[in-house]
Subunit: 326 residues, 2 copies
Amino acid sequence: MKVLITGGAGFLGQRLARELLARGSLKGADGKPQAITELVLLDVVRASDFGDSRVRAEVGDIAERSVLERVIDERTSAIFHLAAIVSGQAEADFDLGMRINLDASRLLLEVCRQRGHQPRVLFTSSVAVYGGELPDMVRDDTALKPQSSYGAQKAIAELLLNDYARRGFVDGRVVRLPTISVRPGKPNAAASSFASGIIREPLNGEAAVCPVAGATRLWLLSPRKAIESLIAGLELDAALLGNQRVLNLPGISVSVDEMVAALREVAGEEAVKRIVWERDARVEKIVGSWPGRWDTSRAESLGLTGERSFADVIRSYIADEQIQIR
Amino acid sequence: MKVLITGGAGFLGQRLARELLARGSLKGADGKPQAITELVLLDVVRASDFGDSRVRAEVGDIAERSVLERVIDERTSAIFHLAAIVSGQAEADFDLGMRINLDASRLLLEVCRQRGHQPRVLFTSSVAVYGGELPDMVRDDTALKPQSSYGAQKAIAELLLNDYARRGFVDGRVVRLPTISVRPGKPNAAASSFASGIIREPLNGEAAVCPVAGATRLWLLSPRKAIESLIAGLELDAALLGNQRVLNLPGISVSVDEMVAALREVAGEEAVKRIVWERDARVEKIVGSWPGRWDTSRAESLGLTGERSFADVIRSYIADEQIQIR
């Protein structure tokens, strides 16, 4: 089995690749595990190949058809489409967001359709597809009213994938990811970047700015669970999904104040003191339009699970990243 | 004021043009009527100009940027975007539907953005954006789960327009039209074509096939009210719409059996006998996925209204089209 990860050099892409290589197989359409013989990692920068001969790192612009035609052939039976322009950047650069989040996603579906072998394709989507006046708990049948270009582009990609799947051009599925926290590394241009920064930087002895009020409620998932969910989402039996290919992934609903309390529980008051509270209207507007909680009974009935406690999320971050608390 | 109608040679386009010419003006962004000095009718075939010197009939492919650049300039302050590939045809020819219903709609928004004068743009959308398991009454916040490519393309165009409006590229609005009945003329490739045919043909002494069960519930609006709603939708104060630019138009919820009863009331049993009941699974699948009723309180609070009785709809068709009942 040949597998493609777009955005393969990114944070989730690299973790997913490592996990797939460690597992060595993925369930096929018949539900039986098939060995992964080739793992293609496409990105605009060269992805690490982990010194593994199964990996082929490809550099290219995903919005160009020739690039997608190079990495998708009739033997590519599983595609994880993670490449994206994040929310803050898509708001700042409208054309770039449209090109990558919309055009490239459509082109990927088109190349699959042209190949004609109906591969499994998993798109990642986001809380940002929601917005406007939301119920306390967002449900599968709550309308999408994105309040950012990123959210609009993700919602459009969902509709495209659903229709391409309905027509039998691909065997598609979309998982809407909660905000991922705690992400290792540096802050990024996502409006939600602080949701990792206010934990990661203080644990590292550094200051972090929190741009939203403590009462702001977030819907979070750890990187570890996110990777598990991407694989489980791709392996789901198509018959169980029917004509509704979009799944809200389970996560944990916490306020920023509760995140800070969990940080205090795990790392003490010294860490908490490193958070600088400085509200930023631009970030608050985007993040405030996202739901803080959603009904995930459908995903759970399909066997997908999230975390139970944010303190546990912090502890698994410390363990996975081998953090020395300062 | 310069006004553009795309799909200007079509049934709704020609009626809208006639009505605008008769009115002679449209409200501007300041709420004050402005004289219509030029009315551009764009279509793939030459639209009638009604012998009126204000009309400019333009022939061109709306999915080509140069065509849109020819018909939209900085003085084009109102655009009615009616050009579309209907549901049955978009299902039969996927690429054509994508090209006209999605690409051309996006290109129109892009050309407006490039001009930079933030014109009023009205898109028409459809019941077909809904689907899947629907509540008895569809509300503004019911999720869109289109079960046809036409519905997916219309839902995507809605999301695009909403985001272009949010960013200030256009002053956009979308009206979701009920199925229009009674349409004069010939059957077309829309899955809903029968909703006019089973009234129009019997009134004309001809047989008409009804491809769905009598219990099938439809959400209908007369051509007359549809034209009124398009104009009212374009004239609505942008401040009243806020960030939610999509409106479900009021209509009348009737079963096919009730439509037939109304035909009997207006034209007698002879007319009803001309309906041939011959179910078509393809049509039933598409039409059955649409909602039979929706909550239109928002549209009504903005002053938009529909009909009260389907018998009145038939009577107004007979009057408008000067039909002699056979």
